[in-house]
Amino acid sequence: MTTRDWLLADSPTSRMQANLGRTYRVTLALMRNPLAVVGAIIVLTLIVTAILAPWIAPYSATGQNLSNRLLPPSWDHWMGTDELGRDIFSRVLYGSQITLTIVLLVAVIAAPLGLVIGAVAGYFGGWVDRLLMGITDIFLSMPKLILALAFVAALGPGINNAIIAIAITTWPAYARIARAETLTFRSSEFIAAVQLQGGSAFRIVLRHILPLCTSSMIIRVTLDMAGIILTAAGLGFLGLGAQPPLPEWGAMISRGRNFILDQWWVATMPGFAIIIVSLGFCFLGDGLRDVLDPKQGENK
């Protein structure tokens, strides 16, 4: 029996085999969608770059060399150099670490928070539902960027506070999804079975409801990544996110603003990095949605 047969077995003999088989099927389906493959490659490249940045970057991200300042793109400096003589290509590579950190931390904070709030609201219903969803709706009807700006203003500029501010503005959408999902199987028989066996509400929500919400959550989080990257870059651009000399892409664009007329590459190059990575997450998210949630994909 080959690995492939084992993965695609119709009657898996262990839970691990079933899980691996499911992952394998999703991967196969994703591979058939060219845009999703492009997206996956971009996201993988981002991850690999972030990990390997110290080894693949040709120059240091922060080391200054004033004799090389504002050089146009060339073989030595693929994206040129900035006003302190730093190699922009190396800085963009190191910047992927910051972008990846922001995106991961926002996802790790906001998704579980929204998931739990939504699932609890949906499972218990009644006044719990009304209270939690009331708060969610208030946050949902606020302009996200403005809210994030105001939070950073109060917390003080910096990358950690930017992450907190973005997470605060992203969780409500996840709570809505989790609630909608929970409502669809709250009254189904397998939940009733667990209830009759004496399963506590905590156990039902944690072990039986949350796992079922994860696939729609993964789709939504991947699709939201582009927005998170743009917001983080925007905060960086305004000087409220990562502080210099950190090579954050938005902050780099902001530094290049002064030279945009003559040394266009300083501001333009980090922008391309933002666009490519955001597009990658969009492609991957679209592909995942088509595979994991075909019903939603049809009428997009």
């Binding site: 606020m142 302009p143 700006l149 203003a153 109060a154 666009i275």
Partner: protein, 360 residues
């Protein structure tokens, strides 16, 4: 309560009156709940700005007077801000202040924040309105054509623009636009609303230069204002075009796959009529919601664009205040943008319900 219908029964013509009053009752009910939800949402917005302004900062007094203030000044400010009172009392006095239009003074301009906001808001409104006009004017027809001719070049354009709208940073596009269209090709005006020698030529009546210059009959100022407005408004228009075009396309695809469309085609109705009369007509109500959302989004998106274009609007005011740690101004601008955002959202929601017979 229970006796009333019986009393009605005996009167002639009760049925007609009953239906009429039921409709009025329903409308009144809808308006009542609309006001309640909007009031609760505003209260929520106030709670958030209150939380941001008074609870998060470790010492709100310090953020107002600065760290070089003497003890007397500090104590006086603390008393004046009422920080010795319980939090809930502080919140209600804050709500009272906001309702009576008192948002405090701005540190950087020295004027009351509400006056500043009134002065800066028209510039934002002008730009966002022009942006949404571009977005609707191009996005809706492009979306319809993209759906009608799936796979055509315009369909591809809508797809690419839709994706870029999600992944291009607005401030970056603004900078690149300035570098190309202003610095290199001189096709449009640079940052700001007017060239320096047109400044102050027309009296400010509405605060929107396009309208003010028409009122004053000064066409030179009007042309110059358009010259400056065209690039930032087009960039905002691009983002709303991306969203509106994509949504129009998907609504149209939904309609075109319906059986009544096939029926119309089989009957030999011309394709143009099928698309615009049969398929487009029903989606115009859904589009109102999309356009409303997009308009509200532009008011928010203008924050970045205004910063890049030194546009003296509310977004620029907000970012300047952020950098000066001018909390009163930040919270005031957040409140105003948030309130307008919520209001437009709710209005488009209500319009949808009023206009769409299925949602009634």
């Amino acid at each position: 309560m229970s006796l009333e219908p019986q009393a009605n029964l005996r009167q002639p013509g009760w049925a007609a009156r009953g239906v009429g009053s039921r409709r009025v009752w329903r409308a009144a009910n809808a308006i009542f709940w609309f006001i309640v939800t909007i009031a609760l949402t505003f209260l929520g917005l106030l709670a958030i700005t209150f939380f941001i302004g008074r609870v998060i900062p470790i010492d709100p007094v310090l953020s107002v007077v600065g760290d070089r203030a003497t003890t007397q000044v500090y104590e006086a400010a603390r008393q004046a801000m009422g920080l010795d009172r319980p939090l809930i009392v502080q919140f209600f006095s804050y709500v009272g202040d906001v309702i009576s239009g008192n948002l405090g003074n701005s540190i950087s301009t020295g004027r009351p924040v509400i006056v500043d906001l009134g002065r800066f808001f028209p510039a934002t409104l002008e730009m966002a309105t022009l942006g949404i006009l571009i977005g609707v004017g191009l996005g809706v027809p492009m979306g319809v054509i993209a759906a009608a001719k799936q796979g055509s070049w315009i369909d591809q354009v809508i797809r690419v623009v839709g994706l870029l709208g999600y992944s291009v940073p607005a401030f970056w596009l603004g900078l690149v636009g300035l570098a190309l269209f202003y610095a290199r090709w001189r096709l449009v005006g640079g940052p700001g609303r007017l060239d320096i020698f047109y400044e102050g030529l027309v009296p400010s009546i509405t605060g929107m230069i396009l309208i003010d210059s028409i009122i004053a009959g000064n066409m030179d100022v009007f042309k110059n204002a358009v010259w400056h407005l065209v690039l930032p408004a087009s960039i905002l228009g691009f983002f709303s075009l991306a969203y509106i075009g994509r949504m129009t396309r998907s609504f149209m695809l939904d309609q075109l796959s319906q059986e009544f469309v096939t029926t119309a085609r089989v009957k030999g109705v011309p394709e143009r009529v099928v698309i615009w009369r049969h398929a487009f007509y029903p989606i115009r109500i859904q589009l109102i919601t999309v356009i409303g959302l997009s308009y509200a989004g532009l008011l928010e998106g203008s924050v970045m664009i205004e910063t890049v274009f030194s546009w003296p609007g509310i977004g620029n005011y907000l970012t300047t205040a952020l950098l000066n740690a001018d909390m009163n101004a930040v919270l005031g601008a957040t409140l105003v943008i948030g309130a307008v955002f919520i209001f437009i959202n709710k209005i488009s929601d209500v319009l949808y319900r009023v206009l769409d017979p299925r949602a009634r």
